[in-house]
Amino acid sequence: MKLTLKIWRQKNAKETGKIVEYPIDNVSPDMSFLEMLDVLNEGLINKGDDPVAFDHDCREGICGMCSLFINGEAHGPDRGVTTCQLHMRMFKDGDTIFIEPFRAKAFPVIKDLVVDRSSFDRIQHAGGFISVNTSGNTIDANTIPINKHDADRSFDAATCIGCGACVATCKNSSAMLFVSAKVSQFALLPQGKVEAADRVLNMVNQMDAEGFGNCTNTGACEVECPKGISLENIARMNREYLVASIK
C-alpha cells in the first residue's frame, strides 16, 4: 500500500506545531497502525530526521497508552479498538491519512503526537478509589454478596482504560465518559457506596478544575470509546452528583 500521511509535528510543549506531509509505501495491510508508524520512523531515522513521537505501551489494547486522532476520529475509523489494534486494512491504497494528537486544553501536547494526560490521574486521585484499612484483618471482598446485574455493570465500567479518546472525540472536550466510568465502577458496589457522595463531588470538581468541557449528550464518546463504555454511566454520575449535592 502507498499512503500519504499528514502528521502533526511539534518540537515541544512551547513551540507551535504544524501538519507535515510524509509519503510512505510498502505498507502491508496486516500491519497495525503503530507498526506502520514504526516503519515511517525507521525511514526518518535512517535519513537523520527526527522520528515522530507517539505514545504506546502494551500494543494489545489494554493499557490505554496509545492515542492518535486518525482521519478525524479517535483511535481511527474502526470501532471498539485502540490505535495499537487498528489495522492498515481499514485503509485503501492511495489514501491520505491525517494523524493528529488528542486535542484538549486539559491534554497539552508534549511533543508531536504525545499529549500529557495526567489530568486524568489527578481526577482519579480526587476520589477514584476506596479506602481500605490493610490492618491485617481485612475482610475478603468476595464474602460480600453482590447481585450479578450490578457486578456486571460495575465490571463493564471498570474496563475503561483511561485512554482519553472520549475527550479527544467530544466536540466539547468533555471528560464525562471517563469520569462517569470511574464513578460508576465503585458506586455500583457495596464497598464503593460508603464514599460514593464525596467521590462524585470531588471527582467532578477536579474534572471542572482541569478545564474539560461540558457534556452535551452528542454520544460521540460512546461510539469512539475502544471499550464501549456506555452513556448510562454519565446518567448515573449525573444522578449521583445531583443527590450528593443536595444532601
Binding site: N71, P77, E100, K105, L201, G211, G219, A235, N238, E240
Partner: protein, 276 residues
C-alpha cells in the same frame, strides 16, 4: 455540599439546562393549544383565550416562570458553549464528526440562538402589541339591523356596545379596553383586545405577510431540530437513562419534536394562504 455545586459546576449547569428546556417544552404544548384556536376556533374564542392568558393569576405566574426559563436557558447555554469552545484551544485539521454523532446534537447553540432571535421578534410582533400598544384594536362585529349595517363592540360580559356611541362621545375608551360612560365617568363594560385581527393582518399583509409566513416556518424547522436532540438529551442530563424506558423517551421526543413545530407552522400557512 461542594462549592456552590448546585449553581456553578458543569453538571449543575446541565441540570438547569435540562429543567428549563423541559419546562419550555411544556410551555410550547400549552401555547400551541391556544394558537390552534386561530384555525379551529372563532375570533371571540381566541380573544377570550388571550384575555384569560394575560389576566389569570396562575397563568401570569407561569408566564413569569417562562420568561425566566428562556433567559436562564439562553444565558446558561451560551456560557456552556463558550466554556466548551475554550476546552479545545487548538482545533483539529480534520474531523469526521458525522461518523459518531447527529448534526442537531452538535449544533444546539446555533439552533438555540436562532430560536432566541425568533422569540424576540415574535414578542415584538405580538406580545408587545398585546401588552403595550395603544392602538391595539378592540374586537367588533358587524350586524345587519334591517336598517343597514351596524358595528358593535363585543364586551367581556357577553354583551354588545354600538360603536356609534363611542363616535358620538357618549362612551369613552380608557386604559385601552375599558368603556366609560362619558357623562357620569363610570366604567360600564370591558372590550376584548382583538389579537385575532392583529394576527391575521400580520400574516395576510400584502407586503410582508408572505415573508413573515416563510420566516415563521423556518423558525419552526429550527425548533424541530433543537428538540430532536434536546428532548431526550434533557432526560440523560437529569440522570434518567434506563434501557427499559430509553426507547419510549426517544420516540416520544422525536414525535414531540416533529409534531409540535409542524402544528405551529401550519397556522400562519393557513392564515396566509387559505383563510379569508
Amino acid at each position: 455540599m461542594a462549592k456552590s455545586a448546585i449553581l456553578k459546576s458543569s453538571l449543575a449547569k446541565k441540570y438547569w439546562m435540562a429543567l428549563t428546556g423541559l419546562f419550555l417544552c411544556l410551555f410550547l404544548a400549552g401555547h400551541l393549544a391556544g394558537n390552534l384556536q386561530l384555525i379551529f376556533g372563532n375570533a371571540l374564542q381566541f380573544n377570550q383565550y388571550a384575555l384569560f392568558m394575560t389576566t389569570n393569576p396562575a397563568v401570569k405566574l407561569l408566564s413569569y416562570v417562562t420568561y425566566i426559563s428562556i433567559l436562564f436557558h439562553a444565558i446558561d447555554g451560551i456560557l456552556l458553549t463558550v466554556q466548551n469552545q475554550r476546552a479545545r484551544p487548538i482545533k483539529y485539521a480534520k474531523e469526521n464528526a458525522s461518523a459518531n454523532s447527529a448534526w442537531a446534537s452538535r449544533n444546539m447553540a446555533v439552533l438555540g440562538t436562532l430560536i432566541l432571535v425568533f422569540i424576540v421578534t415574535h414578542m415584538v410582533n405580538f406580545w408587545a402589541k398585546m401588552h403595550f400598544d395603544a392602538n391595539m384594536p378592540l374586537q367588533t362585529i358587524m350586524i345587519d339591523t334591517g336598517g343597514g349595517k351596524q358595528e358593535l363592540y363585543l364586551t367581556t360580559d357577553g354583551d354588545y356596545l354600538p360603536k356609534v356611541r363611542v363616535e358620538q362621545k357618549l362612551v369613552t375608551i380608557k386604559n385601552r379596553t375599558e368603556f366609560y360612560d362619558t357623562g357620569a365617568d363610570v366604567k360600564i363594560k370591558d372590550g376584548y383586545k382583538d389579537l385575532h385581527k392583529i394576527t391575521f393582518a400580520f400574516f395576510q399583509d400584502a407586503k410582508y405577510g408572505l415573508i413573515a409566513t416563510i420566516a415563521y416556518v423556518i423558525a419552526m424547522f429550527v425548533l424541530a431540530f433543537h428538540l430532536l436532540h434536546g428532548f431526550a438529551s434533557a432526560f440523560q442530563s437529569l440522570g434518567a437513562n434506563n434501557p427499559k424506558y430509553n426507547g419510549l423517551i426517544r420516540s416520544f421526543g422525536k414525535g414531540f419534536a416533529i409534531i409540535v413545530p409542524l402544528l405551529f407552522a401550519i397556522i400562519p400557512v393557513y392564515i396566509h394562504f387559505f383563510a379569508k
